[in-house]
Amino acid sequence: MDKPKKETKITRRSVLRDGVRSFFVLSMGGASGYLVSRVQAEDYVWQIDPHKCISCGNCASHCVLEESASKCVQSYPMCGYCKLCTGFFNAAPSALDTGAENQLCPTGAIIRTFVEDPYFDYTIDESLCIGCAKCVKWCEAFGNASLYLQVRHDRCLNCNECSIALACPADAFVRVPKSKPYRLKIENKPE
């Protein structure tokens, strides 16, 4: 014979008791979730260490994207604003103007703007930059090394296995915390 079922009454006390229990359970759940989130490893993203980069040009050809996520950036506090910028002009310019025959950049991505004699401002048009690092190489060779490459995070897919990192001969591709996604040269001078 089946055991008679105990009748369950909903009383004010039981509602209150259940409410308090639920509150504690939810609080414990919330606290656990918070603690777990605190011990999560911080997200990392790819970035180029500009002090290790040797301007080999692999960034332009090894990115999984058609147009590389590595772009040249200009550190304006470091720039000499030179009239003869070795990152802008080829080795033997016929004149110090923006004629194509004088420019080093294969896609004309560096914009030269007159400031006051003898100073010029050099800005990167990222839509044209292909990350070939020619300007970086020559800026470093004869200038202040204010032009350098950085992975632009609005483009980078943050691949688990970055193709450029694998091809980088200088091990300059590193993972950096997402909270500090860029390695700005002015802030990261080698000791």
Partner: protein
Amino acid sequence: MNNKNRFQFFEDLWDSSAKNIAVVAAIYCILVAGFLAYNYAAAQSGLPEKERIYSQQMAEKKALLIEDVKNEELKSEIRDLDLALRQQYFERMAFSKRGKYLLLAGVIVLLLALKKTVAMQKKLPKKRVKNKDPLREANATTQARQTVIGSSIVLLAGALALGFAPGVDLPSASDEAEQIAEAAPQVTFPTQEEIRQNWSRFRGPGGVGVAHYETAPTTWDGESGDGIIWKTEVLLEGNNSPIVWGDRLFMSGADENTKEIFCYSTEDGALLWRKPIGMVPGAPSEEPRVMEGTGRTASTMATDGARVYAIFFDGSLVAFDFDGNRVWAKNLGVPDSVYGYATSLMCYQDKVIVQYDQGYEDDDTSVLYAFDGKTGSVVWQTVRPVANSWTSPILAKTNSGEQIITVSEPWVIGYKADSGEELWRATMMGTDLAPSPVIAKDMAIVIQPNEWMAAIKTDGSGDVTESHVAWHVDCMAPDIGSPVTDGELIWLLTTMGTLSCHKVETGEMLYEHEMDDMFQSSPVLVGEWIYMMSEKGKTYRVKTTAEFEQAEEVPFIDEWILASPAFTQGRIFVRGDRFLYCLGSK
């Protein structure tokens, strides 16, 4: 023609021309895909021919300009050439983007046409409509023919237009591939017998904690040195277990300054080499946070007999040859794991398999990788719908072929070992998983720490949660150690020292025994004995019988033991926190 008739007309037209459109769309897709592949190869192998010619011309003209700096005509030519060169370059970039959309459109048309063609074949013959206009029917046939011809022309024209891409240097890529193929050594990987004779990964052959010998050393004494062939200092801390191949023993270690691999002689314990793993492309510039209990090198190495592989807490995966030369290294990204990364590596043929579980079940960050042992290139990879875990994969020989079986939250998944293709999956696992699975009677036996054990038949496909779970029993399930089985019985050992024995067939418990010790290393089965090493360095041996029968405890030494021991013929290798031991008869 009213709207209804017009609709009927187009439907008839579509019906009669679907098959032909499918054929044309297929040709179109192949052409577009071919052009895209051609374009990709061009980008990979250097400048396409036209750009290269322009570049050469540019270089020549610039050289001339140096000699004749005032030649305005030459400057003008250079500027025109520069513009053309840039246009060529950006056109090539845009080509890929356009091509993808064109290919997508072609595939959609192909699928629709195929669907219609298949549907048409299934249809019963239509009844002739009495009042159907024969003239309109004839018109529809003509229109259908014209539509096919017209669409063929349009599609082919589109494909040919795409073909006006700059020239490509395909031969160089294939030549290079041939050269690499010629230079590469013959593919060799160890035989089953060699794998059985060695201890090539965490928990030995297959990763199930069973040694393929009948006997192993039974007595030793840390104090007097009896039964200890050699001992040598552990040079860097690490929670990984030693692995053995032939006369070499490998293990890894790390601290905040270095990550290293160690190679010892199994004969006398001599350190043959120690190698820092060096710079790894993509390794984080700042050390990720480490949970002390897990450490930097919780993952046990693996070897295929030619190279050894190790993975570290920051996602750096490295391969070294037996002489200590680094073969390749890569970083898989810092694993997003609550407790840190602890899954061990395994080899399958000449590939190294990495169960890279991280994050949460729905974020698609967990991946099962197979890397080519020689080059480190990805042979296959399968995204896993699971969260981070500590478990290691096992290689199981089942009636349906060799499978890699994995346990993570919430899925137990079986994969084809040679391709990574998912075979079956069962949703049942909760969080905080450490014990790895074992295989018995064609069933994967899995553990939910502190809660239950279950057996899943491995011959299913798709989601087998409802159909292939053979049994599920609540029990004293270990939270760290993995189970061990002789095919008929299963033994579970908890951290708190509870050993329980169950039937493989049903999961029914046969006995439970409390031991006055704590265990983190996993038990190993040798012949008719199960070896269990406690945290304090004592070894317990229990007979593989349905009734509890224990041999005399073997006092070890004052060592803290977390790693699982490695067994080879007549020897046991134990990693303590201070020394590495070789036990056996001298």
